[in-house]
Symmetry: C2
């Protein structure tokens, strides 16, 4: 494949961990990087310039949502998603495949993707819309693709590997994903293996469709394959080997990542050694501080997750120290009454716009008064927190002290 | 009174209309000016820097809301509302008096302040929160003040002229208002006159309380009196004469302004000739384009109104021309399906952030997808529209062509 849509340069390594540069037609992503989620073509509550000011390098949008509303045609008419949403920096889209799960298996088993894996963090991997799954029925997974009913207007749709690529060509993100099926923690091993095999066949169809089409908007796109295989060692290894050899521009690790953080770490240890070392690796839907350190250590380069922005909208503010005390969950609940008269910034020493201009008492007031500015100010801080975290991780890798940094962050008295 | 909290310089006149400069400790307001509303200590959905970028010079916050939540003490602890909300420019607060009406008479008669006066524009004078009045009962207007039940927690409160001044001292706006009773269009003449007389007695008590207290935050505040008198010529003239002579730093015109725009214009014609020519005049709760031209012509200097921001949040975008056609109501409803594929900016030639970066199709998508960024982008445009309108009006006055400008704006084929 001589598409060369992106160049990945690794400039430092520490065991499996590495730092580097992922060059796209819309700019360079310094890795490891956090990818902020903009499901419907906007990072919720933030104008793009505001997102840039947080240090966010790259956004992740959802093909399923944009396909249903407003439809990829009007986005293509704008010259692609970058122009539609005024984000002239690197952009990723998923394939719609995650919705196979959230529409299908999620209903079947009555749970979300990893509803139970990280107690108290159920929100880390659900979709940014928090859509109710109740009205989603009549979803069927077939060899051809997935048939489903729109949660917006009840219309019937068929998503196929080829269709996903065509839609993602219209959207024009710099990095797009192959269409996969995302299995649930409740799927048994036989189903998980059969599903992974179907995902591998779909991967071939995605690659073919990708080769058979040209970028619509005048710049190249990169196609990432998705490793599935659930929480079973042999199916994960199997999927990693297969997907790793297909010639994708990068690899995403998706699907059921187990029931605990430890499960996820093991899954990464099973998966990553089988992936080509020179390809960028993206971990889908994970973005808590501990997981990021552990996943970077195991060789992950990029992460997308709704939690920093979704938690922000619920008053959950990412903070490492509060009055000198290290917070185990890196989070304050700003709705708490103890902040009513707190004239400190969200985080002491933070240089974000929010912390430079507003107090906890003010932002808490905005939350209680149901003012949208609360969402903005908390989201700005949380994205800034993530950008700073990733920047510290990158520096530590370049300076050979990743282990020290990780211990500083993850050790508590 | 040797407080000299603000200096008002008139630099051009055209009949009763005038342009000038209102100098406060937080900067100069070029008049005529539109005052954007930030009821709860935030212009809904916009960060203060974003509001500044729209050209907005001055904000209007609501004492009633801030008194109930978060309470004026925590705001005073911040050094006042400017610091609390990070708005280091001119700021006005009302007295809470409007709530006398919306809590009392509004329930009594089952209508809003001027619910019926401008058909299709019922929203122009209601409060920014759009609070339901249903649960508001047990409000009583007494000589001492107004007793009411909080719409937030059911607690009982007494607002008095002295209390309003003390709260407004804590808030520390540059321009504060005397505590008044705002009568409804359904109040009869006898009640309206008796109410205006009570408002005049309250005005004296406000002035006394104001003289007896010092600014809390190290800079002077100005106190505006409020003319009442309903839609009756003799009570309006009476109130204007009385309030005009009391020694206030400026005059606000409030209360029932009649049932049609023409009623309001007449009320201004009755009122303004009795007001001291050298004092700034504020018209409470009016902000539509036609009313602004007519009120400026009759001598009004400043206007506050929720409609540009509230309409924005409902998809109502202020536009003068659409595809070369003059719009009679200066408004497009962005939710309309005809904008689904419209790649034009909200308004051709507009220099606001929104129009420079986004299409109608994108913003309509955000509205349909219930994304908060829709509110931001439409509010930015509408505030920019108001700022440009006022700037054009000021220039026309300085250049002696106000009449021409008014005709250009208000004449339709």
């Amino acid at each position: 494949m001589d598409r060369n849509p992106l160049v990945f340069e690794i400039d430092a390594e520490h065991g499996m961990a590495r730092s580097g540069y992922l060059r796209t037609s819309h700019g360079v992503i310094e890795t490891p990087a956090f990818v902020a989620v903009g499901t419907q073509g906007t990072v919720k509550s933030l104008a793009p310039e505001t997102v840039i000011a947080t240090g966010t390098q790259v956004l992740f949008a959802n093909t399923y949502h944009l396909y249903l509303r407003p439809g990829q045609r009007v986005i293509a008419d704008h010259g692609g998603l970058h122009r539609f949403m005024n984000w002239q920096r690197p952009l990723m889209t998923d394939s719609g495949g995650f919705q196979v799960f959230s529409l299908g298996a999620g209903i079947e088993h009555g749970i979300g993707k990893i509803a139970s894996i990280f107690p108290g963090e159920e929100d880390t991997q659900t979709n940014e819309e928090g859509d109710s799954l109740k009205d989603r029925s009549m979803v069927s997974i077939e060899e051809e693709g997935v048939r489903f009913i729109s949660h917006i207007d009840g219309s019937e749709h068929l998503f196929t590997p080829e269709g996903s690529i065509i839609v993602q060509r219209d959207l024009g993100a710099d990095i797009i994903l192959a269409f996969d099926e995302c299995t649930s923690p409740l799927h048994e091993k036989d189903y998980t293996r059969a599903s992974a095999e179907r995902t591998h066949r779909w991967a071939d169809r995605c690659l073919e469709a990708f080769e058979a089409t040209i970028p619509r908007h005048g710049y190249p796109q990169a196609l990432f394959g998705v490793v599935q295989g659930g929480a079973y060692r042999d199916t994960r290894e199997y999927s990693a080997k297969i997907i790793g050899k297909k010639g994708f521009d990068g690899i995403a690790i998706g699907g059921n990542l187990g029931r605990t953080r430890q499960d996820m770490y093991r899954i990464l240890e099973w998966t990553i050694p089988y992936l080509p070392a020179d390809l960028p690796r993206h971990l889908l839907g994970i973005g808590d501080v501990s997981s990021i350190f552990e996943a970077v250590e195991r060789g992950v380069d990029t992460f997308d997750c709704v939690s920093p922005t979704r938690n922000a909208r619920n008053g959950g503010v990412l903070v490492r120290f509060d009055k000198g005390v290290k917070l185990r969950n890196f989070r304050l609940n700003l709705r708490n009454a103890r902040f009513a008269n707190d004239l400190a910034p969200l985080e002491q020493g933070c240089s974000c716009y929010t912390c430079q201009h507003f107090t906890r008492a003010y932002i808490r007031h905005l939350f209680r008064a149901k003012e949208q500015l609360a969402h903005q100010l908390a989201s700005i801080h949380n994205l800034n927190f993530m950008a700073r975290l990733m920047s510290e991780i990158r520096s530590s890798l370049k300076e050979g002290r990743f282990g020290v940094l990780k211990e500083e962050w993850l050790t508590f008295e």
